[in-house]
Amino acid sequence: MADLTSSFCGISSPNPFWLASAPPTDKEYNVRRAFEAGWGGVVWKTLGSEGPPIVNVNGPRYGAIWGADRRLLGLNNIELITDRSLEINLEEMARIKKDFPDRALVASVMVPCEEQHWKEIVPRIAETGVDGFELNFGCPHGMSERGMGSAVGQVPEYIEMVTRWCKESTDLPVIVKLTPNITNIIYPATAAKEGGADAVSLINTISSIVSVDLDDMAPNPTIDGKGTAGGYCGPAVKPIALNMVAQIARTPETHGLPISGIGGVTTWRDAAEFLALGAGNVQVCTAAMTYGFGIIKEMTAGLSSWMDEKGYNSVDEIVGRAVPNVTDWQYLNLNYTTKARIDQDSCISCGRCYAACEDTSHQAIAMSADRVFTVKDDECVACNMCVNVCPVENCITMEQLSPGDLDERTGNRVAAEYGNWTQHPNNPMAKAAE
């Protein structure tokens, strides 16, 4: 059995699956049940300043996108940070830490962007025995209108400044949670690192309108005839999150900074992909909110069997394995040539590949009167669209041409050596290959 124990920026947990700061971690009752189910850690629902607690809307706060069978594909919310008092949250956190000493307990914090607020609250929270802090610079709705959340996360200077205040207030690890609602994730990540952050976590939710009620002519969820932008999360956001994680992992300025991967993690496989792209652990929110805490069993069992199968002994062996293979477009090998191949035995003759290629791609699929579909090698540019629309798995595959083979489309022989755009004769800036 592969060892799933995780040590993330000095915080240890029995597995790399944490619950993200959100409703699943909003109170002792939930967290206790989550730990009993097997979750490795939690980032407690974001705490705010002392005083009268935050208020939430009293109408619907979630909207969603579904597949045909109501599979939830994307979730959007207009919830704010915890709406329970700081005192109660702190008491509960202390009790949880005492009862579950082996689990990771991280406090998420968001207070106004003034030094004394942060310097007061951080030591106070530390007294509960938490293992670290996560600074919520990500929430894109409500709190950002008050100059907090993503309003801070969108200004690298603020991130650096607040991170430094926190680091000055505690010896515990400080994780900076980043918003994806920016142009280039490297800027806020670099700022966090400059400010002394021990790690970053990402992504928080993406600013979104999930759908429009066409009768009321208002965004969903609708509160008394009006709606507002909310934060988007769940399976739909995973590709965006994976890319941001990978960019931080591979960019020299931020390379090596521990990353907690968040965004659409729903199965063990999603988690493995985040780890491969450089995340040290993962956090989950929507999947737990959709299916309940029980999914942790699928996640831990799945990850560990896959690791056994591949011969990986520990989580650290997976972390970042795919990062060297994430590159810029300009370095992709332009001499690598493939052609689509249709397996006639498994083809069910639906013609979707034909429609896709004929109408929208390269007119490279022939259709016979008796519905046999074949690829015209002299037209196929290997775009992969036919593979993506084919309903039968592995019916259409991309087969690589060997060096020396004729590419019927270009009339050229496939070159054996690697050749990219920087060396290409059509590139005015081309450098000669060394």
Partner: protein
């Protein structure tokens, strides 16, 4: 509907009323909107989809399914009705397993086609429940067309002609319109008086007058119609049933399956419909299967269906055969009746085992108190002067008969194939051709 024997001494009410209700409930109940969305999601929207080719009325199936998937059932129904105005009935009675669903690529892929029939039913049911009839009539042409027969062929022709602006009179010999939709289709395929509701709905387009109880050859002639109307369409179906030609065929409780089915369909209380305890059905088509299954559902203890050919040759689809077996019908292949025995009413039937259609010198006898004959319907009362092909009315590709200005379609013509959907397609196409002819004449 001439019956060769009478039915007497047979019991009704063999099973409880609750059981009867359950037995004759909808074979494929309507989808709710969520089920429809899930089923619609399975459609691949194939290029030049094979299901469309397989449908005799060429409904644009991928399009109507996509319209269900996008929550537009009314638009979806319009796509269906544009090609097949009896799309509601066809959704219930078409042997989809040998038509559209057989052609579905998912049938090839995984043996589970998209449920086209049930999706069609969903869209058409939603539409037929809505207030509006989806069609309006074109400006009146001042032309009139007589339709003989209010079965699927005649109704489809009538609707199309009315839509194109002609005045239509339908004459039907029966007391109720609908043809076999009303008298023949199995009760569990068209529940809740659907056949009549569908006719009422179809007539809402306006411009169609229905004259029930008016028979061609009895109450009027083709010549009369040629005087009163600009064109005539004949859709009279098949009027009689092939005989076994055996000595004691007239014993009581030996009857035509279609008569038994019609009696059942016209009954408002199935517990009053008599049926034998040992029923023998002779034949291998849809009628034979329906008679056998419905006898069983009425409570017959033993139902034996005897077909003279092999299982492969049986006209009823594999799926229909499975339904019969699942209801407890015993099917015997390769056997033909050689004598009917009994004093006043039937007591048993002798069968001869056949091999490749010829006698194998092995006889067996089946005890029975109720014999249902379903070895094919015929046209015997064909209108005078019309040229026949085989025993049916001869038509060309435009559904014109040998008589000027007389068109025909459905079961009664040589091009018919004993399917509701084919009758609809032919009625529709004949109507289009009548229209071209009438308008061409100016």
């Amino acid at each position: 509907m001439a019956s060769s024997g009478q039915v007497e001494q047979l019991e009704s009410g063999r099973v409880t009323k609750e059981q009867l209700d359950a037995n004759f409930s909808d074979l494929h109940p309507e989808f709710d909107s969520h089920e429809a969305a899930v089923a619609a999601d399975r459609c691949y929207f194939c290029y030049d989809a094979p299901c469309v080719t397989a449908c005799p009325t060429s409904i644009d199936i991928p399009l109507f399914i996509r319209q269900i998937a996008t929550d537009m059932p009314l638009a979806s129904a319009k796509t269906i009705f544009d090609q097949n105005i009896l799309g509601g009935m066809c959704a219930r009675v078409c042997p989809t397993e040998t038509l559209c669903e057989e052609a579905c690529v998912r049938e090839a892929a995984e043996g589970k086609p998209v449920e086209i029939g049930r999706l069609q039913r969903y869209a058409t049911d939603v539409s037929m429940r809505s207030e509006e009839h989806p069609y309006t009539r074109a400006k009146t042409t001042g032309k009139s067309v007589a339709i003989v027969g209010a079965g699927p062929a005649g109704l489809a022709a009538a609707h199309r002609l009315a839509m194109l602006g002609h005045e239509v009179d339908i004459f039907d010999a029966g007391v109720k319109p609908g043809g076999l939709n009303e008298f023949g289709i199995a009760a569990y395929k068209a529940t809740d008086n659907f056949a009549q509701e569908e006719v009422e709905w179809l007539l809402k387009i306006g411009g169609i007058k229905l004259h029930s109880g008016k028979a061609l050859g009895k109450d009027f002639t083709l010549e009369d119609l040629s005087k009163s109307h600009n064109a005539t369409f004949i859709g009279i179906g098949l009027d009689s049933v092939r005989k076994l030609s055996l000595d004691k065929e007239n014993l009581s409780n030996v009857e035509n399956a279609v008569d038994f089915i019609a009696r059942l369909r016209q009954s408002s209380d199935f517990s009053k419909v008599p049926v034998g305890s040992n029923v023998v059905v002779i034949g291998g088509g849809m009628t034979a299967i329906d008679a056998a299954v419905q006898s069983k559902l009425l409570g017959a203890e033993e139902v034996t269906l005897v077909y003279r050919g092999s299982q492969k040759k049986m006209p009823a689809s594999q799926y229909e055969q499975e339904i019969a077996k699942s209801k407890g019908v015993r099917i015997i292949f390769n056997a033909k009746p050689v004598s009917i025995e009994g004093s006043t009413s039937v007591e048993h039937i002798e069968f001869e085992q056949t091999e490749n259609g010829s006698a194998a010198n092995k006889n067996f006898s089946v005890k029975t108190d109720h014999v249902l004959k379903a070895i094919g319907q015929l046209l015997t009362d064909e209108p005078q002067n019309l040229e026949l092909e085989g025993s049916k009315i001869k038509v060309n590709a435009l559904f014109e008969t040998s008589v000027k200005n007389v068109w025909a379609g459905g079961d009664c013509v040589s091009a018919g194939d004993d399917l509701t959907v084919t009758a609809v397609a032919q009625g529709r196409d004949a109507a289009e051709n009548i229209h071209s002819k009438l308008m061409g004449e100016g």
